[in-house]
Subunit: 217 residues, 2 copies
DNA sequence: CGGCAATCTTGTCAGTGTCAAGTTGGGATG
DNA sequence: CATCCCAACTTGACACTGACAAGATTGCCG
């Protein structure tokens, strides 16, 4: 969207399929239906997008730039993601899937919170996009199902705590836990806690925090 | 950035200074140095931007569109805000100023939290931009001072609670309170709490939440 | 009254997202 | 093995954008 930043005046397309030998269509899992010419353009663009978002945020993302990085034409991404919104929606859906996975392995509510924060730190690009509704396709099926999965996982962790422990109904406890973890993660990613947290391990800070706030009264 | 959405094919410039009488340079406060031709372009663009962001998010914001709404040429905004980042930075700075103001009137920590949530609901555009670091000019003076003001106001509210009440040091209590309020506000604006909160008053929900979590142990 | 500086306009350029139409090549079908 | 089909990709175009440079307008101040 902004042309001021000179980026890649180099005419060479970069690390593409070598001109000499064939582009080696082998994959990690032998079968799995290797898509086509590029090898796995969809995945390549996704990871390139994640890198770009991690570095400069979702706003700076450019489909044409991603295409250049992958060594394909400017319109190639459209075939896999329809448009910019589609790409970001795919990223968000993937993120909710990953989140649901890690939340599903949580032993209790506090552990779920710690996992939530860890997820945000390990997948900052996913996390940012997941909670930027203006960038996503609202009705998308993959997105809504993945989000529902993550919500369910969170709800399961919440329902595991007996309500008498907090003198608070389960629904409210869920909102509280989610708010605490989400706020901590968001402020952390935005470097708003760099001062207070300092060089301490953020997950450890959050653990003490959650322990103190949520201990039995 | 995206030309697909047809917006305003109407050739007429809209509600501009009427061609017949003069553009009536009167202001609310008689003096105050009415800037120039437009009356108060800077303010006009700011409020137009806030409207646009509230409606479609910061990503959809277009300087040229704001200029059209204000009835000025496409390059007019640049003179007041330098560039897109400058405009968003100005909005964020204004937001931190407003937030500092309302936090400064808080009676205690819980009240500060409620005010934080209320601010996010009453100024959603400001709030979104304030915590989107990728859209702001990092070193901007107005921004950093306004942010410091808001941080101080929050710190004051936190330090008002005696640490023995929570068995937790003040710094940690601050992080906890901020995380809780910020997470709640963020999830609320992203419509992630529409289900759980329902049609109840969000501020009231947050109040019970904070009361339960932060009551003396 | 003359200049001056802030305000705004006009014109231009590189870059972007999206669409439409063409090209390529691998796999299935006969 | 020949053929066709269709997904993957390319090429080209269009409307739009942010940013910059240079010129025009206008109120104010000496």
């Amino acid at each position: 969207m902004a042309p001021p930043e000179t980026k890649k005046p180099e005419p060479e397309p970069g690390p593409k399929p070598e001109p000499g030998p064939e582009p080696e269509p082998e994959k990690a899992h032998p079968k799995k239906a290797t898509p086509y010419h590029h090898g796995d353009l969809r995945r390549a663009i996704l990871t390139a997008a994640l890198d770009a978002i991690t570095a400069d945020g979702p706003a700076a993302l450019s489909l044409r730039d991603l295409a250049r990085r992958a060594g394909v034409s400017h319109a190639a991404p459209a075939h896999h993601f329809k448009d910019r919104t589609g790409l970001l929606t795919a990223i968000a859906a993937e993120g909710f899937g990953l989140l649901a996975g890690t939340l599903g392995e949580a032993t209790d509510l506090k552990d779920a919170g710690v996992r939530y924060v860890r997820f945000a730190r390990e997948h900052p690009a996913h996390f940012q996009v997941m909670f930027a509704p203006g960038l996503l396709r609202p009705g998308d099926l993959e997105l809504t199902t993945a989000r529902a999965l993550a919500t369910d996982a969170l709800r399961t962790s919440v329902s595991a705590v007996r309500s008498e422990d907090f003198g608070i109904d389960t629904r409210l406890a869920g909102i509280a836990a989610w708010s605490l973890a989400h706020g901590f993660a968001t402020l952390l990613l935005g470097h708003n806690l760099d001062g207070p947290v300092g060089d301490k391990d953020p997950e450890e800070v959050f653990r003490t925090l959650a322990t103190t706030l949520f201990r039995a009264h």
